[in-house]
């Protein structure tokens, strides 16, 4: 690490604590929801005293935002990367559904929060939509493109992209509720195949 950017011990400890608190908060909020999540419980799970949390975050709302922001950014970037890495439209669609399914498995707690995003917090609400939006729009662009190339039949790209997102979300929710029907890959393939059939040029 370059001179001058070396982290001091204080910074290291500080970042570590912050991370611990966010992890604990994610766990608690996933279990109890926002209003049900008690600061005392978060503190306990983070292994610090309640007062300590307020050295790192202004308020309960701030922590909630921090959790969402951290996880949503990761998911967003992850999704964008995987879409971009895929070549064909079909692969992009499969990539989109599969990343999100994989993420829902690997980070159940976060997805439970997403589910119950009652969007209490005004700011969170619009911000939240934007985080969802970007990957969907990226997918829409790919659809638009394929549509122009006549690889698929003409469709309103953005609508279709949102439909894909909707089905993926629904599938994830059903899995989280314990109706897991198959493997991630298999679920993803089913969705892709279904959409692909809808997009195919009719003969």
């Amino acid at each position: 690490m370059a001179r001058g950017t070396m982290k001091t011990k204080q910074q290291i400890v500080s970042e570590f604590r912050r991370g611990e608190i966010i992890d604990a908060a994610r766990s608690v909020f996933a279990r109890r929801g926002f209003s049900g999540g008690i600061m005392e419980e978060i503190a306990q799970e983070a292994g610090v005293a309640k007062g300590t949390i307020y050295l790192y975050f202004r308020s309960k709302t701030e922590i909630y935002k921090a959790v969402l922001e951290h996880d949503m950014k990761t998911l967003k970037q992850d999704t964008l990367d995987r879409i971009d890495a895929a070549r064909s439209l079909r692969e992009k669609i499969e990539a989109f559904t599969l990343v999100r399914l994989e993420n829902s498995e690997a980070r159940k707690e976060f997805f439970r929060i997403m589910d119950s995003e009652q969007a209490n917090l005004a700011m969170t609400r619009s911000q939240f939509r934007n985080w969802l939006r970007e990957p969907v729009l990226r997918l829409a662009a790919a659809i638009e493109d394929a549509s122009r190339r006549h690889e698929i039949r003409p469709v309103p790209a953005e609508r279709v992209a949102w439909n894909i997102a909707d089905m993926t979300r629904g599938t994830i929710q059903r899995r989280l509720l314990g109706f897991s029907e198959g493997s991630l890959r298999e679920e993803s393939e089913f969705l892709t195949e279904f959409v692909w059939a809808a997009l195919a040029i009719r003969t």
Copy 2:
């Protein structure tokens, strides 16, 4: 009304009050969510004193359940009726999407609650799933049937039905958030057409 089932004045007043309270509660819960919805506010909006509410409902949770139960039953029945009234599978799919879109328009408050159904209440959670489930299964049965008759290509009926429900829900949410793209009928037709394309027998 048959003798013996004639409602007494007391019953009439009682049912009226109950209705008023449920209406007020729906409005408040839609605006503030469950934990944010304050009894005092519900009372005020219903035009009664807080104590009066407790003559009709055991607790805040009970009111919440009452609202959900009332509205979900209506929606469920409405959807089932419309599906059954339709003849062909395609019409049934369109019926499903359209009833729900229409309902979301006519009863925005209830749909806002459905959105934010963080399912705090354990009982509500499973009950809630069941209310959603029945119409979807009815649709699935129709798909299964059409599949057997070779009117559509072979598909896992229940999965497809859930996908339709997911897309419809997503569309409704986007409309409630103010991204209303078109008329109800037009939205419904788009969804139906999309699904139909996915189900068509490939030539």
